[in-house]
């Protein structure tokens, strides 16, 4: 054998040996790492699962993802020929020829638009921009924005007064209703409107306006859920009544029948006081609609959409046919529209006393008396409109960038309208579809979105009992921008979202088959890369801190108390909550463990957009940020605070309220570091 040949054999041999030397221990190490991060032992060791699909910025993230439209709500012209579609992720109002089924115009609007309505003459559209805190008036002839009117925080649902003089805007984040005088094109009033409202409906005679809340009253754990519908007198533009809807929440939308005899609300009936492991025994979550009688006893009655062994989770929009005979409810968790026979509902209301109807709101078999049909839709059906002639129902299928078209004579699907979004289904987009779909839960009872509406949290406290019932009462945590904030859960037991949503998730929460690994890849990718914090326009609109917030920052950073004593390191806010995530990702006992909790230290939560996450503490006992320290900070275990005056506490809370997205915080840190260097 020649030397040359020997050399040729040596090189690959050497590589092989080195490779084997690396492969076996490397694989062993990878196996251990993946087992730890996934809590399973049979993951196929695909590095891309975590190390590619969870990249949330830069060119790789751009390459992996695509710009979808994500239609949410719609309006339709009087002649039924034109649809106006809010494309939430594209910040656009799309003008669609409903006959040719073609997008004819893209009108840029504000950030994260939510709803659109048309003026009576059809000349203007009004668009609420939820992440810009304004409403835009769009001149439809020129397809241009003519006016931008500031509103409260997080504008969503819209309605016009019957004389077209006032525009009513529901402010979801600030929980109020903006009244805009359209002649002056300015906000003239802001009226309180429940908790996290979105839905709005004007009575046919124009005298009454309803606004439905999504979040429930904040009550101690153990008390039933109550959520408000607020009634406004439109002649005075004042709050006239508050209706408490028992054992319901997430009342996304409302509608009146054309005759005005009934007002309808989409709603969810949570059983958050029941241990979550009970999901397999049924009705952990129920989904339905409420009816507010406008005549007679004016009762508020709830009806289920669900049926035995099959749930119709996450009802979003509710609409009444032009003849008032049927209602349509889009259930984004199961990709269905339920057709409700309203004459059957009227008959039930007439023939059953309130007590019996209240009881029947728990009866899964009762829906057979009024559900006429379930119409399949595209991915995540949201807002709906009906053509003026009553022949077509259009539905925004949010997660496949289509508008579904349904023939209302046959209740059959016609060809949908393709809005022209990207044809590729990215991993994160698939994850979003999985996130909002209840298919992964026993009998479709709920999706991830149910407890995490807006990919955030629902404000409820759940009994996350393990094997010992009645333990570990848990406040739902937000999923906004949680990448880089591991570990997860209040006890920090999950090192990764992959682990959080894997086998353990199905064992405790969904009680059905675990997500497949490709599905887990997708779900984790969406959760970690696709959920952003809305800009903190409520408390920090300009990015500059107010005088009170600056004083609060000094308190947050302080090392010495009011008496000149050095505060132990553990007693300083900034020790456990350093920017940009305001978490040190470590564990601490802040003295709030209750007797029913397992003995744990708490994973330090991040504080970005903390103002939007009430209630607070692991079991939601603090209704406001103030209560963390006024009621539950007694022994200075959760920071040294007892030397502070009320004014100082207010300043500290003003600062905490100002905290926004970690991305912005990180930029500020860079600027700060650069300034220090210079």
């Amino acid at each position: 054998m020649s030397i040359k040949r020997k050399k040729l054999l040596f090189v690959p041999g050497f590589v092989l040996v080195i490779g084997l030397l690396i492969y076996f221990p490397g694989r062993k190490h990878a196996r251990e790492h993946v087992n730890l991060m996934t809590a399973v032992e049979d993951h196929p060791l695909k590095c891309a699962s975590c190390h590619l699909h969870m990249i949330d910025k830069g060119p790789i993230a751009s390459w992996l993802n695509a710009d979808y439209y994500s239609p949410l709500n719609m309006a339709i012209s009087r002649d039924g020929n034109t649809l106006y579609v809010v494309a939430q992720d594209a910040n656009e109002l799309m003008v669609v020829d409903a006959l040719k089924k073609k997008v004819i115009q893209h009108i840029p609007v504000g950030k994260y638009p939510h709803s659109v309505i048309l003026s009576e003459d059809g000349a203007s559209a009004f668009v609420s921009n939820q992440w810009a805190d304004n409403v835009m008036i769009v001149d439809l002839a020129s397809a241009s924005v003519t006016d931008t009117i500031p509103t409260g925080n997080g504008p969503s649902g819209l309605s016009l007064s019957i004389d077209q003089k006032y525009l009513y805007v529901v402010n979801t984040f600030s929980s109020d209703l903006t009244v805009i005088n359209l002649e002056r094109k300015t906000e003239v009033k802001r009226l309180s409107a429940g908790n996290n409202p979105t839905g709005i409906a004007l009575s046919p005679n124009g005298e009454k306006l309803y606004v439905s809340s999504r979040r429930a009253h904040m009550v101690p754990y153990g008390e039933p859920t109550i959520t408000d519908v607020t009634e406004f007198n439109t002649s005075k533009n004042r709050v006239s009544a508050t209706m408490e809807i028992d054992e319901a929440y997430l009342m996304e939308n409302m509608a009146f029948t054309p005759e005005g005899d009934l007002a309808l609300i989409s709603l969810i009936r949570p059983k958050n006081l029941v241990p979550m492991v009970q999901v397999e025994r049924g009705w952990m979550m129920n989904h339905g609609f409420g009816v507010i009688e406008q005549t007679g006893q004016q009762r508020i009655i709830q009806f289920l959409l669900d049926e035995p062994n099959s749930y119709y989770s996450d009802p979003f929009d509710i609409l009444v046919s032009n003849d008032g005979k049927r209602a349509f409810v889009s259930s984004s968790g199961v990709n269905r529209i339920s057709v409700v026979n309203l004459d059957s509902i009227r008959s039930l209301l007439q023939n059953y006393p309130e007590e019996e109807l209240d009881y029947l709101a728990f009866d899964l078999s009762f829906s057979r008396h009024y559900i006429e049909k379930r119409i399949p839709t595209g991915a995540s059906p949201k807002g709906m409109v009906i053509s003026a002639d009553g022949s077509r129902l259009y539905v925004a299928n949010q997660l496949d960038d289509q508008v579904g078209v349904i023939d209302l004579n046959t209740f059959e699907n016609l060809d949908p309208i393709d809005l022209g979004g990207p044809k590729k289904l990215t991993v994160a987009r698939k994850g979003r579809q999985l996130f909002v779909n209840a298919g992964g839960t026993f009998q479709n009872q709920y999706s991830c979105y149910t407890c995490h509406p807006d990919y955030h949290e629902d404000g409820l406290v759940y009994n996350m009992a393990g094997k010992d019932m009645g333990r570990n009462v848990t406040n739902v945590q937000s999923l906004r921008e949680i990448n880089h904030t591991a570990p997860f859960k209040w006890n920090g037991k999950n090192e990764s979202v992959y682990k959080q949503d894997g086998m353990r998730f199905s064992t405790v929460l969904t009680r059905t088959e675990a997500f497949s690994f490709p599905d887990l890849d997708a779900l984790a990718s969406f959760i970690l890369t696709g959920i952003k914090n809305p800009p903190n326009l409520m408390y920090n609109p300009s990015g500059e801190l107010t005088a009170a917030q600056l004083r609060g920052k000094e308190i947050f950073d302080r090392t010495v108390d009011n008496y000149g004593n050095e505060i132990p390191e553990k007693g300083r806010c900034v020790t456990c909550h350093p920017s940009p995530y305001y978490s040190n990702f470590s564990f601490e006992d802040v003295g709030t463990l209750s007797e029913s909790d397992d003995t744990i230290k708490f994973d330090t939560p991040h504080l970005n957009n903390i103002f939007a996450s009430a209630p607070y503490l692991h079991d939601g006992r603090a209704v406001t940020l103030e209560e963390i320290w006024t009621k539950y900070g007694g022994r200075d275990q959760h920071g040294v605070v007892n030397d502070m005056t009320k004014m100082q506490l207010n300043d500290l809370i003003a600062y905490l309220n100002s905290l926004g997205s970690a991305e912005l915080e990180a930029k500020e840190q860079e600027v700060l570091k650069a300034e220090i260097k210079n």
Binding site: V239, T624, E626
Partner: protein, 368 residues
């Protein structure tokens, strides 16, 4: 002879005319026609409400007319009089505390704001929402006064004054640490013409300019003496219990007399030199040109010149109105009269007055 007669006749005529005119003036002072001679409103036809006819308790602290209904703060909750029926709301309905000591209604939203002995409550569309020193940025739970000023709600509490911006939901607190107060105890607050005035215990009147966000104080130049050494040199005492502003006039009540400020100078009023029922003033409310003064010895109404004071007889349900014009005083009897002489709250709308007393609520109708 003729000229002497004429002179005598002329003198007689002159004296007669003078005499008639003089008699006329004298007559009108001694026997006033209440409908014509006095511009300060006089109320009669009193009707009283107590626990016996619908109030939840006899101790009433505050009253506010809100359109067709009357809101009454009592020691046992909020009592609402509508369609001649009383309805009571308590902590069971969502009130912060049953002792309701201050009430205001937002002109902008129609929301009712209630200052109680245990926090502030917003009553909107039948829903009660609580703000306390524990769950919000409010300074203290003892809320002596509440007023709505556009989108802002101001409170005077035992731990400082405070402002809630109902749009941003943020509180701002004003105490001796950031305002020229003697101590944080505040009793009253009012607003007008881009200014807010706070009655601060021991601190006189604190003026807050909303345009500049600056404070200034008005204190007693006599150094907190219980007598007003130099008249009209400033607010009559630093222990202020009430402020109210209307028609460009600020009225400041103290436990030692009343002050009126027109933006240029102060004028003091006391029970010994005016028609004021007592120097011990619990509350003042001004409407139009008139100040309504709730004292421990009756209710007084004034425009700064004339006075009408209502007092109940000690031993029966009857009483009187004492009408003071300069040096002259006349009285008019009523049966019944106001419910009690210890007055804590008052409100007027059109020709009707409602008076909250320590024993019942009184309703009177204007008779002049």
């Amino acid at each position: 002879m003729k000229s002497k007669f004429n002179l005598t006749f002329f003198a007689f005529l002159t004296l007669l005319t003078f005499g008639i005119v003089s008699m006329g003036f004298t007559r009108s002072e001694k026997s006033p026609d209440v409908k014509e001679s006095n511009s300060v409103p006089i109320y009669g036809n009193w009707k009283n409400f107590t626990k016996d006819n619908g109030l939840p308790g006899n101790k009433t602290y505050a009253v506010r007319v809100d359109g067709d209904r009357v809101l009454v703060g009592t020691h046992e909750g909020l009592a609402v009089y509508e369609d001649e029926k009383w309805t009571t709301y308590t902590t069971e309905n969502g009130l912060s505390h049953n002792g309701v000591i201050a009430i205001d209604v937002s002109e902008l939203t129609g929301d009712v704001w209630l200052g109680t002995m245990g926090g502030l409550t917003r009553w909107s569309g039948g829903k009660f929402e609580q703000y306390t020193q524990m769950n919000s940025g409010m300074a203290n739970d003892l809320v002596y006064a509440v007023i709505c000023d556009g989108k802002d709600v101001w409170v005077a509490t035992g731990g400082g004054a405070g402002k809630l911006d109902t749009y941003t939901k943020e509180w701002e607190i004003f105490t001796e640490q950031n305002a020229p107060m003697h101590e944080p105890w505040t009793y009253s607050v009012c607003a007008g013409d881009n200014k807010v005035w706070i009655a601060a215990w021991g601190g006189g009147v604190i003026e807050y300019n909303k345009k500049t966000n600056h404070f200034r104080d008005y204190v007693d130049p006599d150094g907190n003496m219980e007598i007003d050494l130099f008249p009209d040199d400033g607010v009559v005492h630093d222990i202020t219990t009430g402020v109210s502003y209307s028609n460009g006039i600020l009225w400041a009540a103290t436990y030692f007399g009343l002050s009126r400020y027109d933006g240029r100078g102060w004028k003091g009023y006391f029970d010994h030199d005016s028609g004021l029922a007592s120097n011990f003033i619990n509350y003042v409310r001004s409407v139009g040109d008139y100040a309504y003064l709730c004292t421990d010895k009756g209710l007084s109404i004034t425009d700064g010149e004339s006075w009408v004071t209502y007092k109940k007889n000690e031993n029966d349900k009857n009483g009187k109105a004492i009408i003071t014009n300069g040096e002259s005083k006349t009285e008019k009897s009523f049966s019944p009269s106001i419910s009690h002489n210890f007055i804590l709250g008052v409100d007027v709308q059109d020709d009707v007055i409602w008076v909250a007393t320590s024993y019942g609520l009184s309703r009177g109708e204007r008779i002049n």
